[in-house]
Amino acid sequence: MAEERRQKLCSVILPTESMKAMAESVGVGSLQEDSCLALSEEVSYRIKEIAQDALKFMHHGKRRKLTTGDIDHALKLKNVEPLYGFQSQEFIPFRFASGGGRELHFYEEKEVDLSDIINTPLPRVPLDVSLKAHWLSIDGVQPAIPENPPPVPKEQQKTDSTEPLKAVKPGQEEEGSIQTKGQGASSAEVKGSSAKMVPLVMKPRSTHELSVEQQLYYKEITEACVGSCEAKRAVCVCNKCYLFLFQVRVNVVQNNLALLIYLMRMVKALMDNPTLYLEKYLHELIPAVVTCIVSKQLCLRPDVDNHWALRDFAARLMAQSCKTFSTTTNNIQSRITKTFTKALLDDKTQWTTRYGCIAGLAELGHDVIKTLIIPRLSVEGARIKAVMDGPVVSNIDKIGADHVQSLLLKHCASVVAKTRPLPDMVDQYKVDYGYLGTMLCSHVVKARAQAAFQAQTVNRTTLTITQPRPTLSVSQSGLSTSSGSRAPSIIKVPSSLTLMSTRPGTPTQPSPPATKYIVMATSAGAASTHIIESHTF
């Protein structure tokens, strides 16, 4: 390759036409072909020479980009008057012109009126150079602070968040520690392990068991939290987070909807409290919340109880925590997205879980809906149709499908209304979105009308319009920026709490000690644990 480039370099000589054009521009009418050739060779050589000198100035200026200043300095070296008045621009818009069989690229220089320049107000004075210190490394370990780059390179994060299902990133948690020791080794390792990690995606669903001690502890804490004693509650607020996961899990097992709602509201309250640093407990909180979103069964009588509301609330909570805590370091949002999408794509997923996934994704914002949900609309539509029109399998399925349908319509309509060009043809919608097309079309029309109406109200009264979902006010946005020292390991699970049962040979991740496994007694909890487990926080 290098050779090719060199060969190419040899042959680069300015075309003789340029010489002619330049000669004409200075008033030399007819230039002989021979002199053109001689000139162009000479000029090309001189330009190369100057460019080579200019490179020296670039290197010493510790830059990667050659500037016009460098060329000026190179000219100065040769005792040539520098070309004043040229500035380096990011983009030089060459224009193309042809005519009379000649093709020309030129840079359009506008004539500037001096008085215009003089009369324009001065631009703002650029900020002065300032000095800022931060820790690049403390005793050989790079701290995860905003000043340092994330342990996972940006490109990878981008692919992670745009294509959440592409691959489970192996050893992502460990990347930070590996990266500090021997780059080459780790990259090889990662490459090797990615092949081995594939089975991880397909790991079997299994149940877990709570130890007796844990059950006792749980009882104590629940009493403290839910009970009436205020003093006790205050004490246990600190270690509440640790136990959150237990509580949720136990309640899922017991199908105690009321308590679960209570707990979710407690999470919300915790999040809204600006004095708490929840970053350290995210690994406890998030799996609990995710469980409430996607669990197969949350109540004793799923056909009657409104567990959908709990799912909605938990999804909103999830979105809020994503907004507040997601950083380039912990990457919460993309991991959550990945979890949801994976469950959504699974054919065997129950309607309840499916509902939770869609709700969770939808709360994450319009972009997520656009990229992840809308493309799935036709598939989901077909599925709903199968339940609705087909022989009645069970009432529960029907209710589930119904809820999923209304959820999809609710969230997609507003997004489609914004992104789709205007003529709302029912047929076209049908083609694009399948079974749901018809209903979606009517919803979109409604959404557009509402938007227009709102715009009108704004015009008339100049009132500020409230957010579509006022419940989602972000109260802790300041937290993530102000927290200076977040340890890189915060999103790791203490091994005793790991929910993993079997993790097929993963070289980068130490298998958790085989002591305390949490096993669910009833099979109803299986789905929920599956989610949690595939999402090891």
Binding site: C10, E42, G69, S130, L131
Partner: protein, 756 residues
């Protein structure tokens, strides 16, 4: 060799400054240097006897004629004064010399004269080269290079190319040799392959010089792909050269011609080559080898490909073996003994009034030398060093106290790194330096400014104006505090004065001065008490890429585009030494910890070590494949580390003159290197936005410097970069411009944030 002498001649040119400089040191030094330069310089070797004397005279006169023609009257004056030639003598000689010719009438006169000289002195080719470089130097010095004036000069330089073979046969010759080398035994092939590149270049230049443009292009296209990839940059320059006119004033070409390309080949391989060329009557190639190459033949096993590759890559081949044979005193100077108060409590109190006491104790202790002298250390007064002032002694005490609190670094105990990021520098940060005690930070910028920051809570203050100073009670204890003007206290100060980007900054050890070197060709000395410019040192005329203070202050070194490094003293406006020999820009300059030597890195991809005492080049290190941009001596003075644009760090043993290690890992130019205070860890900072830490202790320990490798210079480099790499720390988007270990072994890094 020629280059070194060239340097000494330049020294002669500055002779008038020398005595006064050295008078403040030992007089022994001046005598030494003067005699050294005189005896080794053929120009001024007046009592050398009959024939050679005549020849020298003729050479001289030719030079004078040439200079006169080009109206370089200053040079004529200087040269005449130095050589002790009278004007009449020269005139008579001139008419004499060009006896059969046309006298001073036509323009070809100087040319004919010059060629005559080169013919007469053909027996002593060295003097021809010297002669060329004199002309080159003089014309260079007065800024005439690049103009029309250097035309005769270049034609002389090139005249060796005028011998012509059949241009169409060049390809045949070259491919014949290529076939031969490819057919020889493996052990010889690698060695003989070294011939390809220099032969290729010389043959190509011959073709170009003799106006066979098409043949030259064809030749280049056919064989340029065979050359080693690390010669790419040079080939790129070469491929632009297609006409004889281009050869004029091209520096790369001059380098090739004026310096012989050095190859190291075993005797067996050489015999093989010689036999082949003689059998084939391949005179063309044989001539080139004889005239333009220097083949350093050694006895013993031929070297392997990897051994050759590790040493080659420089513009003029490897260094000759005998170049690195000179003794280098790489040991450290004995620390002056200063009584260190052990208890901290009364030290604070003692600091103020205890000064005179300490001075006395020091004088006493100097007499009884308890510590053994390092056998490799130079004599304490080998070069005159400034006397320690009271403030320096206080600083030494501070240093010792700090070093007791120093963290011992090692593979298990890596340093913490504090990164100073320059924000809003708009890509303009070009140089950074920290003071030794890490209290001040200076930055050189592309907008010609130098900025000084205080990185401690102590603010920067100016001294009061003269009128205010008069009002101060000079007897008071805190007079040093009183002279400072509180009103001027600020965290940073800007120094204006340069008229081009500032490429190098360096603090003096006592923190009173700052040096800066710039594109405008000057080195400036700034006072950090008044924050004004004190001196502008002119001499380089071209951009000055780097400057550094000696570890003991007073002296400093600078290097620039004019291919020389200069040694200065702060109180002299002209340089004390000029270190000439590099074939391209001197990009970085570093003082040895004992201040007796200066290391310079260059765009010609070599590192040279110069003796400050006599200006000789004592070491040439080749092996880098790109321009060298950073150098660092180990604290014990035994080793040197160098980093270049190819992203590799090379480690050198100064005493043996050998390469001892190669650290691969960086992906871009390494702009800063620093050893920790105890030398256990080497930190490297690069354009690729990383700081890397290397286990230098291990790298140095593993080297086997037995007698064999020491004498032959053949090294086996272990490929253990990965084992030696202790850590890699990425910054977000900040190239690392400078690294500094504090006295307690905390690593400070600095660079400008690059928003793209």
């Amino acid at each position: 060799m020629a280059a070194v002498q060239d340097g000494q001649m330049e020294l002669d040119a500055e002779k008038e400054t020398k005595p006064e400089i050295l008078s403040d040191g030992t007089s022994n030094l001046s005598g030494n240097t003067a005699s050294g330069t005189l005896s080794s310089s053929p120009l001024t070797a007046a009592p050398a006897g009959g024939a050679p004397k005549m020849e020298d005279q003729q050479t001289l006169i030719a030079v004078l004629q040439f200079l006169k023609r080009n109206k370089l009257t200053d040079s004529v004056e200087i040269l005449r004064r130095e050589a002790g030639l009278g004007e009449d003598q020269e005139d008579s000689q001139a008419t004499d010399g060009s006896g059969g010719g046309k006298g001073d009438v036509d323009g070809g006169d100087a040319n004919s004269l010059l060629s005559r000289v080169s013919i007469t002195s053909a027996a002593a080719p060295q003097s021809v080269i010297i002669f060329h470089s004199i002309i080159f130097f003089y014309s260079y010095r007065f800024g005439k290079v690049g103009g029309a004036d250097d035309q005769p000069d270049v034609s002389v330089v090139l005249s060796a190319y005028s011998q012509q073979g059949d241009p169409s046969l060049y390809q045949v010759y070259y491919s014949g040799l290529k076939n031969f080398i490819e057919s020889v035994l493996d052990c010889h092939r690698a060695e003989l392959s070294q011939l390809f590149y220099p032969l290729f270049v010389h043959m190509y230049l011959e073709l170009v010089y003799n106006n066979h443009e098409n043949e030259a292009k064809a030749f280049f296209e056919k064989f340029s792909g065979d050359q080693e990839c690390y010669y790419q940059d040079d080939l790129r320059v070469l491929c632009g050269l297609t006409k004889k006119e281009h050869l004029k004033g091209n520096e790369v070409l001059l380098d090739f011609r004026t310096s012989r390309f050095v190859l190291r080949i075993s005797r067996d391989s050489y015999q093989l080559l010689k036999r082949h060329l003689q059998e084939r009557h391949n005179n063309q190639i044989w001539n080139i080898i004889q005239e333009h190459l220097y083949i350093d033949i050694f006895d013993g096993m031929p070297r392997s490909k990897s051994q050759i590759d590790s040493m080659s890559g420089s513009l003029a081949g490897e260094g000759k073996r005998e170049v690195n044979k000179a003794k280098v005193f790489h040991g450290l100077l004995k620390e002056p003994e200063i009584e260190v108060p052990l208890d901290d409590e009364d030290d604070e109190a003692e600091n103020e009034e205890g000064k005179p006491k300490k001075k006395k104790t020091k004088k006493d202790s100097l007499g009884s030398k308890s510590k053994k002298q390092d056998p490799n250390a130079p004599q304490q007064n080998r070069i005159p060093l400034p006397e320690l002032k009271d403030s320096d002694k206080l600083d030494k005490i501070m240093y010792m106290k700090e070093s007791t609190k120093r963290i011992r670094l090692g593979p298990e105990n890596l340093p913490s790194i504090c990164f100073y990021t320059f924000l809003n520098a708009y890509q303009g940060l070009t140089a950074v330096d920290f003071t030794d005690d890490s209290s001040l930070l200076a930055g050189g910028f592309a907008d010609s400014t130098v900025r000084v920051w205080s990185v401690t809570p102590k603010k920067l203050r100016k001294v009061k104006s003269a009128a205010d100073l008069n009002m101060i009670d000079k007897e008071s204890d805190d007079v040093l505090e009183r002279i400072m003007d509180e009103k001027t206290a600020s965290e940073s100060k800007i120094l204006y004065g340069h008229s081009g980007p500032v490429y190098g900054v360096s603090f003096s050890p006592d923190r009173n001065y700052l040096l800066s070197s710039s594109e405008d060709g000057t080195v400036r000395l700034w006072s950090l008490l008044t924050f004004t410019c004190l001196v502008g040192y002119k001499g380089h005329n071209y951009p000055v890429w780097d400057t550094q203070f000696s570890p003991f202050g007073y002296y400093f070194v600078s290097g620039g585009h004019d291919r020389v490094a200069r040694l200065w003293a702060t109180d002299h406006y002209q340089p004390l030494r000029i270190f000439a020999g590099h074939l391209a820009d001197v990009t970085c300059t570093r003082f040895h910890p004992n201040s007796n030597y200066v290391a310079t890195g260059s765009t010609d991809r070599t590192i040279r070590l110069w003796d400050v005492l006599n200006g000789n080049c004592v070491r040439i290190f080749t092996g880098h494949k790109g321009p060298i941009h950073s150098l660092a001596f180990s604290p014990n003075g035994k080793f040197l580390a160098s980093g270049s644009t190819d992203g590799r760090v090379l480690l050198w043993d100064i005493g043996h003159g050998l390469m001892i290690g190669e650290l691969k890992g960086h992906t871009d130019t390494i702009y800063s290197l620093k050893f920790s205070r105890d030398g256990e860890i080497l930190a490297s900072g690069s354009m690729d936005n990383t700081v890397r830490l290397w286990n230098s202790m291990k790298a140095f320990d593993e080297v086997e410097t037995d007698d064999f490798t020491a004498t032959t210079g053949h090294i086996h480099l272990p490929d253990n970069s990965q084992e030696l790499l202790l850590g890699t720390y990425h910054s977000k988007s900040t190239p690392v411009t400078h690294l500094h270990f504090t006295r307690r072994n905390l690593l400070l890094a600095a660079g400008a944030y690059n928003s793209q």
